[in-house]
Homo-oligomer: 335 residues x 2
């Protein structure tokens, strides 16, 4: 049984812990929160034995072998780095890093700790429907493009409109729609079509100077993929991948709840399966599989690392194109 | 009763003639086709008295007072100019011209013939649902953007793939998806939101070097409107205009068959009416209304002219951004 430690006690952490337990591969041993009361509450609720309020002590004294990190985006990198240095495997929520320099620094840390594994928690990759879409794309006579939309009005935008600056709408915490929701669409695009030749981002800025909404145009040889992201608006649109007369229609390109192939006659064929009730179950199983037997799963692991590298590069390129820089981030962060 | 002459004997001409007759305002008197047999066949079928195979004779001897022009795009401008010079009112299919220079030349011709009226046949403008959408946009607390999609696989793309070059896929005939389908979306955007501050077009070129498909990004103060057009692919997406939590959903942004308001709770409210069976009926009525009493309808007429000017300017700007130039068109056609 793998031993899990967690940073963060919010709903997504709970969801991952639930998935980890459900997989039968993990037990929760250790909880970190800056607030003791929150750590104890979460630990009690989830039958964990250890709680810490100091991060260094958490890493040096905690009995876990893998940490799951779901802190604000801006903390992912440094916490992942710290975990690696303590010889802990890392599952870090997407986006794992803000730019390629940070990605390279994690690579360097991993080289110094060759037994440590690092996973970016891109849950959709691990789901059957993601692979089914990929297989159907490979069968299209000709890919003619795609329009992928993921927009949900965030209740925290009400706070922005009221004059506040919540983390997810703050440059101080690497916020914005592209980082928060666009990362799913970037995984779709890079996972299904590879890296684009060119990428442009057209952000709509909030009062707090993050992209509350945005349109990304990715140019591939022979087609264009458009990504619509937004946290300041709801969308009722489906998403689609275009063939010639045919298309693949997705109810939601991040959740992949229902994926359908519309053939040249417009006939609908279900491509997918009913997703797991807990959307993090598949990744919790996959990460355990690799940690339990890294030698025989090196191929998958390296493929995920490469995808993670490319997605983070694409997101950074898009931010550059939209002139969006996080607090303290140098503009040559790719060099 | 207004007397109508027509250039072109294809299905769209038949549809306009049907609409004109149904309106009770028009009679078809005169048919022009380069082929006598086609002219006579169309005239007989529609009870017209005159047929011509020479364009100059058609204009100088035909007894009609208004011409409807539905020739290939590249001929619209010169035929409209010729009609004005013969003192005929003009209804010309969209896009009326290829660039602003041509638009200005038509303005000059109209100045020399002050009693002549020129209409670009942007049928959707005249439909109730177009106005209903506009009214709902005005009621949104905040416009956050729009994604408008109009893509239909053209059977003529099969010919392109087989090595041919049909007019609508030819730079020689001012073809391509933007001119053919994008003009509808440009009318939506300019009609509903005004002229954008910036506009970029990302075309996907066919073997014949026209845009078989493309994505246009229009930037307004505070929001972005994305237009998806394509003749080399089918789309199954709806279109939408985003508010904050609410949105306006369109089944098809050119046909406007069904327009729905989704309120902040996601509840759907029908905004529109059942469109006319013949989608050109409303414009046939409106054009007759203005021709019959131009003095009292100058406001509408001038508004349509201004919209036409802006739409043609936008389409040209988008083509420039996508490096798309028609045969014989100079690159400074806007100067």
């Amino acid at each position: 049984m793998l031993k899990l430690g967690i940073i963060g006690t919010n709903w997504i952490t709970q969801q991952f812990v639930d998935a980890a337990i459900e997989s039968g591969e993990w037990q929760l041993t250790t909880v970190y929160s800056r607030q003791l009361e929150r750590a104890q509450e979460f630990a009690t609720h989830n039958h964990a034995e250890e709680t810490f309020t100091d991060l260094e002590t958490f890493f040096s004294q905690g009995s876990f072998d893998t940490v799951y990190i779901a802190s604000p985006n801006s903390l992912h990198f440094s916490q992942a780095q710290q975990a690696i240095e303590h010889g802990k495997h890392v599952i870090v929520e997407k986006p794992a890093v803000a730019n390629q320099r940070e990605f390279q620094q994690l690579d360097t840390a991993l080289k110094a700790h060759p037994d440590v594994l690092l996973f970016e928690a891109a849950r959709q990759l691990h789901e059957t429907n993601f692979q089914r879409v990929k297989q159907q794309i490979d069968q299209l006579e000709q890919v003619q493009g795609a329009t992928l939309t993921y927009m949900k009005y965030s209740s925290r935008y009400d706070a922005v409109r009221a004059g506040e600056e919540p983390n997810i709408f703050s440059l101080n915490y690497a916020g914005g729609a592209l980082q928060d929701l666009g990362v799913y669409l970037a995984y779709d695009a890079v996972g299904w079509f590879g890296m684009p030749e060119e990428a442009a981002y057209y952000p709509t800025l909030t009062r707090t100077k993050v992209d509350g909404k945005g349109v990304a145009v990715l140019r591939y040889a022979g087609f264009t993929v458009t990504l619509n992201v937004g946290k300041t608006s709801n969308s009722f649109l489906s998403s689609e991948i275009n063939g010639l007369r045919d298309a693949i229609v997705l109810d939601n390109p991040a959740e992949l709840g229902r994926v359908t192939y519309r053939d040249a006659d417009g006939q609908a064929h279900e491509l997918g399966v009913q997703p797991d009730a807990n959307p993090m179950l598949a990744e919790a199983r996959d990460f355990a599989m690799v940690i339990n037997d890294p030698t025989n799963h090196q191929r998958e692991y390296l493929a995920w690392r490469q995808l993670s590298r490319n997605v983070n590069k694409l997101l950074f390129n898009l931010r550059q194109s939209g002139h969006l820089y996080f607090t303290g981030e140098t503009r040559d962060a790719v060099k």
